[in-house]
């Protein structure tokens, strides 16, 4: 089951992010971003920073505990550390997106996949999530201290009663979609490097289609706003900021 087609007149831009690549861009309040796992098995790590005040950023712990969840899907919203909603998950055909495990680093990628530097592999080199995100953060005057736990779209990690973590392979199908509506002007930082817990011994990151488009603001009957009483208050904090 796919999300409804995007009205062509609303599309702002569309771009394919290759597997293992990184990218960053601002997206304005009131616009949406649809992410499509073109081949299946993608991992898209995403960080959200308030574009106008870059010390305000996505906060994993506040997002999880305000909504009593370990993962994200439709209805959940992404909270900043200031009690405001950066973006809402308005659509999802995949059902579970990891919000906890963070990204791979250079050491982990080389240990798992071997060395593949630019000198020998050119742009097929093996990149890692941490360095990819640091490169993008630095482009906006941010750095290591701003690199917090991102969301890993299209990846699923569950935990047993004893707390042991399990990566679910082949979780996201080809054509899997997730859609975000931005409630604040947001800097989006992306890396399509493999999930750090993906047990596959082959470095095979997958491409993701990005489509930005205009949309309506969250009305009083909005699904994400009313998903939890906490979210009603989160939207109240956000809308107050823009009065």
């Amino acid at each position: 089951m796919n999300l409804p087609p995007i009205d062509a007149q609303r599309v702002l831009w569309s771009e394919q992010l290759p597997g293992g690549a990184h990218h960053s861009f601002p997206i304005r309040r009131g616009n949406r971003l649809r992410l499509t796992d073109l081949e299946g098995g993608a991992n898209l790590s995403a960080l959200f920073v308030h574009y106008d005040e870059k010390t305000e950023r996505y906060n994993m712990a506040d997002t999880l505990k305000a909504q009593h969840t370990f993962y994200l899907t439709r209805g959940f919203v992404c909270y900043s550390d200031m009690g405001r909603v950066l973006c809402s998950v308005t659509g999802d055909t995949v059902g579970w997106h990891d919000a906890v495990c963070g990204v791979s680093d250079a050491h982990g990628v080389e240990a798992k996949y071997g060395a593949a530097p630019y000198q020998t592999h050119r742009n097929a080199m093996y990149r890692n999530g941490r360095d990819s995100m640091l490169i993008e953060l630095e482009k906006w005057g941010l750095g290591k201290r701003d690199l917090v736990t991102p969301i890993n779209f299209f990846s699923k990690v569950t935990v047993s009663e004893a707390g042991d973590m399990r990566f679910v392979s082949n979780h996201s199908p080809a054509g899997g979609e997730v859609e975000l509506r931005f409630e604040m002007n947001t800097l989006v930082i992306l890396s399509s490097c493999p999930h750090p817990l993906d047990p596959s011994p082959v470095y095979a990151p997958k491409p993701v289609l990005l489509q930005a488009f205009r949309s309506e603001p969250a009305g009083s009957d909005d699904f994400c706003r009313n998903f939890r009483p906490e979210n009603q208050r989160g939207f109240c904090n956000t809308e107050r900021y823009y009065l």
Binding site: M60, K65, T149, A162, G234
Partner: protein
């Protein structure tokens, strides 16, 4: 849950301080020293962050820590991993059984979301952290505040992905002890949270000890 008791006695400690509820604590712990947090009255959340003393951007990372050990709970044997992949501390004793690192610190702003908009003005851990770093003048800023450890907090995750705030599993006299693997700065907020039943709405003091 591995309950491991310590052989260290409080009288041999080089540092012994009782931190009241709602207070911050910023302190250097040297490589090789052992640090104990003692839950004096039970079910007190001790929100804790660690930084490499040599590089504050090399800091405790909840994601790296749980990923490295493949388990979301902290207890004896857990290595606390930094954002650069270094070992900051190793948990060497624990009479509580497990500790949370997903729930983060309470904050004025998140209290307004979680409980009600009017709760914004209550005292919070994030305010304590900010108070401590504002006075310390040691180069830490708001951007250094990231997902922390909540010692003695019980935040179980269900297999279908629900995060629950369960009754505490700590009790008066339980403690956790860790060895510093490098010189670290420890930043604690002894949680003042009055909205969460985990502590029976009664934040209490903790005792902090350091041995050479």
């Amino acid at each position: 849950m591995a309950i491991v008791e310590s052989k260290l006695g409080p009288r041999a400690a080089v540092y012994d301080f009782t931190l009241p509820a709602g207070e911050p604590w910023l302190h250097m712990i040297k490589q090789g020293q052992t640090f104990r947090i003692h839950d004096l009255e039970g079910n007190q959340a001790v929100d804790t962050l660690f930084y490499s003393a040599a590089d504050h951007d090399d800091r405790y990372s909840a994601s790296d820590t749980i990923r490295r050990q493949g388990n979301i709970y902290l207890s004896t044997g857990t290595q606390l991993i930094s954002s650069e992949g270094n070992v900051l501390m190793t948990l060497v004793a624990d009479t509580c059984g497990r500790h949370d690192t997903l729930g983060g610190a309470c904050a004025a702003e998140s209290n307004s979301v979680r409980y009600s908009l009017e709760k914004r003005f209550m005292h919070s851990c994030r305010d304590s952290f900010l108070h401590a770093i504002a006075h310390a003048d040691c180069g830490l800023s708001k951007c250094h505040l990231t997902g922390n450890i909540n010692f003695f907090m019980n935040v179980p995750v269900t297999e279908d992905g629900k995060l629950t705030f369960a009754d505490g599993i700590s009790a008066p006299g339980k403690y956790v002890e860790m060895r510093a693997e490098m010189d670290v700065i420890a930043l604690i907020s002894n949680c003042p949270q009055l909205n969460n039943p985990c502590n029976a709405y009664n934040p209490t003091p903790v005792r902090l000890l350091i041995w050479d």
